[in-house]
Amino acid sequence: MRPVLYVMSFLALIALGFWAYRENYATQGALKEVEALQRQIVGLHEALTVQRAEWAYLNRPDRLRDLATANFDRLGLLPMEPSQFGAAAQVAYPRAKLPDVSFTEDVQGTITTDAEGL
């Protein structure tokens, strides 16, 4: 009985040693990966900061004002004015809903190609 126990524990020792060896290398690999990821995160953070700075730079009020002026004919943007506030009373009531028209029954006549505009 006792020799079997000795052999078993010896084998277990070898197995544990092998397991520890593998774990050691797996840990080192994981640490390396973490370091690489950290470097990547730092790089991305830097890129993010640069992009945030660029966003702020491109959206600086002076530039937007100049762009709005330069593209006035297309956009028609003007500074906000008090007259742009409206009162609720100025909003028209929605129109009464028209009855649905079913074309198959109610519309008569012919459609020429000109009128279609195609």
Binding site: V42, A53, Q84, F85
Partner: protein
């Protein structure tokens, strides 16, 4: 095996011998006890040994670890997660809506190791081609005089870095740098101030604030415990930009030397915009003027809104009337003596252009017409001591507590003695000087119903508490008086339909350095509060040496200069703040007539 205490064989034997068998029992008992004691002692010794060993092992382990830690190089824990604090060494500054006002970007510094240079002379010439501000001859000398380290540039753009790479000399080296960037350029320059490098090393350099909020809040911005959390200012970038635009247009139109404007939330004391013109670019901060004869206001670095300590003129009159009403000395309609000119000892108090609004004028009209004599009489009713105490409670005797490094230096100029003639002149804003920011804080106290506030540039969360300096009724009546200044008084150009502007003009002659006042140099101020029915915002506009030549005569009163600028500012910023114009009351006369 347990031995019996009375073994039968020995007992029988003893009985036969006629001995007492009890002695056998005693003897055996004694032996047994001895054996038990022996065993217990052995066990105790063993336990002590184990205990000893564990102590030795434990202390040995701690000692070994300490020795190891002391003897080895320090190392960062490798598995810790990186936080933003490692990346940003200086926190960003944002406006109240989170728009970036100051941030950091990574760039590089250029340095050289001349001893490892292949071609020092050629490199110097090529560097001077890339950086025109470098002198090739001086650079050559520095590369060849035997030193082993030379700084060439503090920051490089990526294009410049590429060009330096193309020179290809192994003696040219780059060090990473974090650079402060103000993406909005000249906007809010006086608030931000600027920054520069502190201690510089090859691998990094510390960025330190040199002026404005960058210097005042330097410790907060560099505090690693804040984890790079941005500093949120009370400034609104859109309002700031609009105000700077309008103010600049007004300043150039009126040929003013400088201008300042402050927009403040009357309830919290948050400064929503603070502009001072002329301005500068904090990315490329100009060097201060060293010429002793130059006035501080000549430098664009001078913050007129905070550092510009001027006599603020008639804008002070409302403080005299408010205090008199608070003390119950007068009411808005009380008639006071306004017979000009008023003789006081050797001094003669006159009105603008030698007019006479008297003999009697109601307190409300004293403000609307800006009567010096009327205010002087009200101030005399109050008396010097109470007047000083009131102005002190409004913050006029101390530098403003705003978070700018320039603020503590801008101490108001207070007369040393306070005889009655000073009481008179101070009541209409002469003889004592304060900054526009002081005025803004004091007007905020009137606007918010009588509570003194502390002006701040940091966004505040929740309501603020302050000391009450006047009753709500006094504050309400004062705003009503200020409203009359705009509707029928000296600031008639200041009315913005729908926004019920209330305010007070102030025109002060600039003092000469040699004593006395200039005839043709003035500081014009318009202190306004809007909307009058529920005052929320305070706007101060100050123009330095403006003059309006548009009509045939030259005008230098605030009503013609600062007021139109302020009204244009209000017209532009009020909608941006979401302030709905109040509809003009519809005439109800027709309806009442019909019902009669």
């Amino acid at each position: 095996m347990r031995t019996p205490l009375r073994p039968l064989a020995r007992i029988l034997h003893a009985r036969q011998e006629g001995l007492n068998p009890d002695t056998i029992e005693k003897e055996n008992l004694k032996l047994r006890h001895e054996a038990i004691r022996e065993r217990a002692r052995g066990r105790a010794q063993f336990r002590l040994l184990i205990l000893c060993a564990s102590f030795v092992i434990a202390f040995g382990a701690i000692g070994a670890r300490m020795g190891l830690m002391a003897a080895t190089e320090p190392m960062e824990p490798r598995a810790s997660a990186p936080g933003a604090e490692i990346i940003a060494q200086r926190a960003d500054i944002t406006d109240r809506n989170g728009r970036v006002l100051a941030t950091n970007i990574t760039t590089h510094a250029l340095y050289a190791h001349p001893k490892v240079m292949v071609d020092p002379k050629g490199t110097a010439v090529k560097l001077a081609e890339i950086f025109p501000e470098l002198d090739p001859a001086a650079l050559q000398r520095r590369f060849t005089d035997g030193r082993s380290f030379v700084w060439i540039r503090k920051v490089l753009s990526p294009e410049q870095m590429q060009k330096v790479h193309e020179i290809g000399d192994p003696g040219l080296l780059f060090g990473p740098r974090e650079m402060r960037l103000y993406p909005n350029g000249m906007l809010a320059a006086h608030i931000l101030g600027g920054s520069s490098f502190g201690a510089e090393g090859v691998h990094s350099a510390e960025v330190i604030g040199v002026a404005g909020i960058e210097k005042a809040m330097d410790a907060r911005l560099r505090d690693p415990a804040q984890g790079g959390k941005p500093l949120t200012l009370s400034i609104d970038l859109t309002l700031q930009s609009t105000i700077e635009e309008v103010l600049y247009a007004g300043m150039s139109m009126l040929n003013a030397k400088g201008a300042a404007a402050i927009l403040m939330d009357a309830r919290t004391g948050e400064i929503l915009a603070l502009a001072s013109l002329p301005t500068f670019d904090p990315n490329d901060r100009p060097t201060p003027i060293v010429d002793k004869t130059a006035e501080p206001g000549d430098s664009p670095l001078f913050n007129r809104a905070v550092q510009g300590v001027y006599e603020l003129g008639s804008t002070f009159k409302i403080f005299a009337t408010a205090q008199a009403m608070e003390l119950g000395l007068v009411g808005p309609e009380t008639m006071v003596d306004a017979n000009a000119p008023m003789q006081w000892g050797r001094h003669k108090i006159k009105e603008f252009e030698g007019k006479n609004y008297g003999p009697l004028l109601s307190v409300s009209d004293v403000i609307a017409k800006s009567s010096n004599v009327g205010t002087a009489h009200i101030a005399l009713m109050i008396g010097p001591l109470r007047q000083q105490a009131f102005l002190k409670s409004l913050g006029f005797f101390e530098p403003t507590p705003v978070e700018l490094i320039e603020a503590p230096g801008a101490r108001p100029l207070i007369p040393k003695k306070w005889p009655e003639i000073v009481t008179i002149t101070t009541s209409y804003g002469h003889g004592m000087s304060a900054s526009p920011l002081h005025l803004a804080a004091a007007y905020a106290a009137i606007a918010n119903g009588g509570v003194a506030i502390k002006p701040t540039l940091l966004k505040r969360e929740g309501p603020t508490t302050g000391v009450r300096v006047m009753s709500e009724k006094t504050a309400f009546d004062s705003v009503a008086m200020l409203r009359r200044v705009v509707t029928e008084g000296t600031a008639s150009l200041g009315d913005v339909p729908g926004y019920e502007v209330a305010g007070k003009t102030g025109t002060a002659d600039k003092p000469k350095k040699t004593g006395g006042y200039y005839d043709d140099k003035v500081v014009n101020t318009f202190a306004s509060v809007f909307p009058a029915s529920n005052p929320q915002y305070v706007l101060i506009v100050t123009l330095d040496e403006p003059q309006d030549d548009t009509l045939s005569e030259t005008r230098r009163t605030a009503g013609w200069t600062a007021v139109p600028v302020a009204s244009e500012i209000i017209r532009r910023v009020a909608p941006l703040m979401g302030l709905r114009p109040k509809l003009e009351p519809v005439a109800v006369d027709a309806v009442t007539a019909a019902s009669n």
